[in-house]
């Protein structure tokens, strides 16, 4: 009996992370470790112009001066990372692709398993997908249609060649190479990612979306995303991520930069489901990500929505710099930690322009032995007359071995500004579970229902198709969290 139960539990655990498979595909790798030669190798592989290589080397040399200066202020515990023990470049072989038909069928199979229909005929109407597999962007769908409208949606490695003036102007303009330890590392070794430019006045009619997938063992993933919304334009962008199940920890250090010019709006949604490690905390992705948007123009708006269910460690603070007068920043977050997962996540809203407004809605859910911290900064500069912020942080605990922490910082240098902060902590009670189960729901359905209710306000901000996926994911990531 006990053995049967153990087996059943083991099987369930395997099923729980359904993206934990590995694709058996030949890959082209740089030697292990990090030095200037590796950076030259990456740059050469991508056939980059000199200025790009120089940017990387500048970042790398700066990073060397930071050694041992990983940020230590977050409420996270993890062993020292040996940056020489990782591969910084891995690409599936046969990478020059003229069309989708040339994509390795095994890759297509992988994306199918991930639930991403890569071939256009199978695609959800209105979603264009850029898929990044380890270090290389494999295929960008709907390219033609977007091009006709003047939208540029391409791998950033391609944009470096085709639109150097845009990349040069904006890359590093929101997250400078010297920003922080991980962002500096990313600037030196980033391998691919997406580039988006929306021309003046265009409301991009389809969701743009990128899927990131770590497949190779011991590979870090360092993607770089740059999105520019020109005056009066609008774009909604979605990013999803998965990785195979492995015993070692793998590093993911991405940088995302958003730029919204006058009257432009960018909606950036993330469903992060990297492998979280097993129930005892073995394996899983270390997710150290720098995401920042600049509302450069007047009346511009940037809205971040994140659903963070995966990763062993999440260190992530999607932020907005509200430079333009009357610009708006919003941050909606659901962070779920189960078992031994740790998340330290939140946002920064930097109010510089007059009449700028920001809104922060954070829902942290903690189960098992997990730790979940909301860390946020609202800074109102001296010139930000009439700036407004509203912050709401809610924590939900499942069981009594997990932790929830709220660390809000508010700095106001303008007397006309108004900030408002609300916080709650609650627990799923046995009486609530019994009530639901008395109506026929399994315990897991009950937890999923209650948790989805708890984070509804955030999930509602996701594009429709993904909201449904995210709801399911919320349930799956909490399986086995009660009893």
């Amino acid at each position: 009996m006990a053995v049967t139960r153990e087996t059943a539990a083991a099987v369930k655990e395997v099923e729980q992370y359904k993206y934990g498979f590995v694709t058996d595909i030949e890959s082209d790798k740089a030697p292990k470790g990090l030095n200037e030669d590796i950076i030259r190798f990456i740059s050469a592989k991508k056939n980059e112009p000199e200025w790009m290589l120089e940017y990387r080397l500048k970042a790398y040399r700066y990073w060397l001066t930071l050694s041992d200066e990983e940020p230590a202020w977050a409420k996270l515990h993890f062993p020292k990372i040996n940056y020489q023990d990782s591969y910084y470049y891995a690409a599936p072989k046969r990478e020059k692709l003229a069309s989708l038909d040339e994509v390795d069928p095994k890759l297509l199979e992988t994306y199918k398993k991930l639930g991403i229909p890569l071939l256009e005929q199978q695609m959800l109407a209105g979603v264009a997908v850029d898929a990044v597999f380890d270090s290389v962007s494999v295929a960008t769908t709907y390219k033609k249609k977007l091009e006709e409208m003047g939208v540029i949606f391409s791998p950033i490695s391609e944009a470096v060649h085709k639109h150097p003036e845009l990349v040069k102007k904006y890359l590093g303009s929101v997250v400078p190479y010297s920003d922080n330890f991980y962002a500096t590392l990313n600037a030196a070794v980033f391998t691919d990612g997406s580039f988006v430019y929306i021309p003046k006045g265009l409301r991009c009619p389809m969701e743009l979306s990128t899927y990131f997938r770590i497949n190779e063992k011991n590979t870090g993933q360092f993607e770089r995303t740059l999105i520019i919304a020109d005056e009066g334009s609008y774009v909604s962008y979605l990013e999803g991520c998965t990785a195979p199940q492995r015993d070692e920890n793998q590093l993911h250090a991405a940088v995302v930069e958003l730029i919204a010019l006058d009257d432009a709006e960018i909606k950036y949604s993330t469903v992060q489901n990297w492998y979280p490690g097993d129930a005892d905390g073995k394996g899983g992705i270390f997710n150290f990500v720098t995401k920042r948007g600049a509302c450069r123009g007047k009346n511009s708006k940037i809205m971040w929505t994140q659903v963070e269910t995966g990763s062993a460690i999440t260190w992530k603070y999607p932020s907005c710099i509200l430079q333009g007068d009357n610009s708006v920043g919003e941050f909606y977050s659901v962070a779920i930690t189960n078992n031994r997962q740790q998340a330290d996540t939140g946002t920064k809203m930097i109010h510089l322009g007059k009449g700028t407004r920001s809104k922060i809605i954070s829902k942290g859910i903690s189960a098992g032995h997990a730790d979940n911290t909301y860390r946020g900064l609202v800074r109102i500069g001296a010139k930000a007359d009439q700036a407004r912020n509203y912050t709401q942080c809610d924590s939900l605990l499942i069981g009594d071995k997990c932790g929830a922490h709220t660390v809000p910082y508010i700095e106001t240098r303008n007397p006309t500004a108004q900030t408002e902060h609300e916080a709650t902590t609650s627990k799923i009670g046995d009486d609530q579970l019994f009530y639901c189960m008395q109506r026929g729901m399994t315990q897991e359905e009950a937890v999923s229902l209650i948790v989805n209710g708890f984070c509804k306000e955030v999930l509602q901000t996701l594009p429709m198709e993904f909201a449904v996926e995210a709801q399911k994911l919320v349930g799956i990531s909490l399986e086995g969290s009660v009893g």
Binding site: D430, M437, Q438, M441, T442, Q443, N452, G453
Partner: protein
């Protein structure tokens, strides 16, 4: 075969014996009322039947269609057709009444091998049932039981019951705190569900409810035992004379 059979049931809470040998047989189509003063074990009995944690059954059996109910988990009991309208329904913040009803209904449909209910069909059903119970339809958009008045909570329990159409419904003091209009509406909801293949266990300590839901049998529960059983006239007698003589007899 009885639909629900309780045989010589003993149960304790926190080491204290509350139920001391309860025997009851509900035939399909019957309505049984259980009356008794506060603290005699009425809610304990309903919780034990529904499978709430923290109650230890030390002796006896509960059978649904001859199947061992005590061996099932709470959710299995519910899907097998046991419904409990709670004396104190809990609040579920953030979960709309509508989402809750839909999830519960789909759990039942899954058990029956049916597909999930279609969104339009669901709305039609809820519209009809809320109208029948005199509830504003908009109530289903509110978080379940959050900020509901006592009467609204009880109506929401009855709404769930009429949607889930259980085989055995236990109503634990569903009448308490209801004004006369609400009482009538709730009773009509119950009566509309009365059918030859369904049974009710109606717990109350006011005979008033039994003017509306006319029982086939009335039992008096005192100190964890059924100390008297009879027809609906027993309820009238209790109303007139009180529980004193039964309490003394049981003590």
């Amino acid at each position: 075969m009885a639909l629900l059979e309780i045989k010589n049931l003993y149960a304790s809470v926190a080491g204290k014996e509350i139920l001391k040998g309860i025997t009851l047989k509900l035939q399909p189509g019957e309505v049984h009322a259980i009356m008794g003063p506060n603290g005699t074990g009425k809610s304990t009995l309903s919780n034990v039947i529904a499978g709430r944690d923290g109650y230890e059954v030390t002796k006896g059996e509960v059978l649904l269609d001859g199947e061992d109910v005590l061996a099932m988990a709470a959710d299995e009991r519910a899907r097998a057709g046991i419904f409990l309208a709670f004396q104190y329904p809990v609040e579920i913040p953030g979960v709309t009444t509508s989402a809750f009803l839909k999830t519960a209904l789909n759990a039942k449909r899954r058990q029956e091998g049916k597909p999930e209910i279609d969104a339009m069909e669901f709305l039609k059903l809820v519209k009809a049932k809320t109208a029948q119970l005199g509830m504003p339809y908009d109530m289903i958009k509110r978080a379940l039981n959050v900020g509901f008045s006592g009467g609204e909570k009880k109506r929401a329990e009855v709404l769930q019951m009429t949607m889930l159409e259980p085989r055995v419904a236990i109503l634990d003091e569903t009448d308490s705190g209801l004004d006369i209009d609400a009482l009538r509406v709730v009773s009509e909801g119950v009566n509309s569900l009365r059918s030859p293949d369904r049974a009710f266990l109606v717990i109350t300590h006011y005979q008033r409810l039994l003017d509306y839901i006319v029982p086939d049998h009335v039992h008096v529960l005192a100190h964890g035992r059924i100390v008297a059983s009879g027809g609906k006239e027993l309820a009238l007698e209790l109303e007139a004379e009180g529980y004193a003589k039964y309490l003394n007899a049981a003590a």
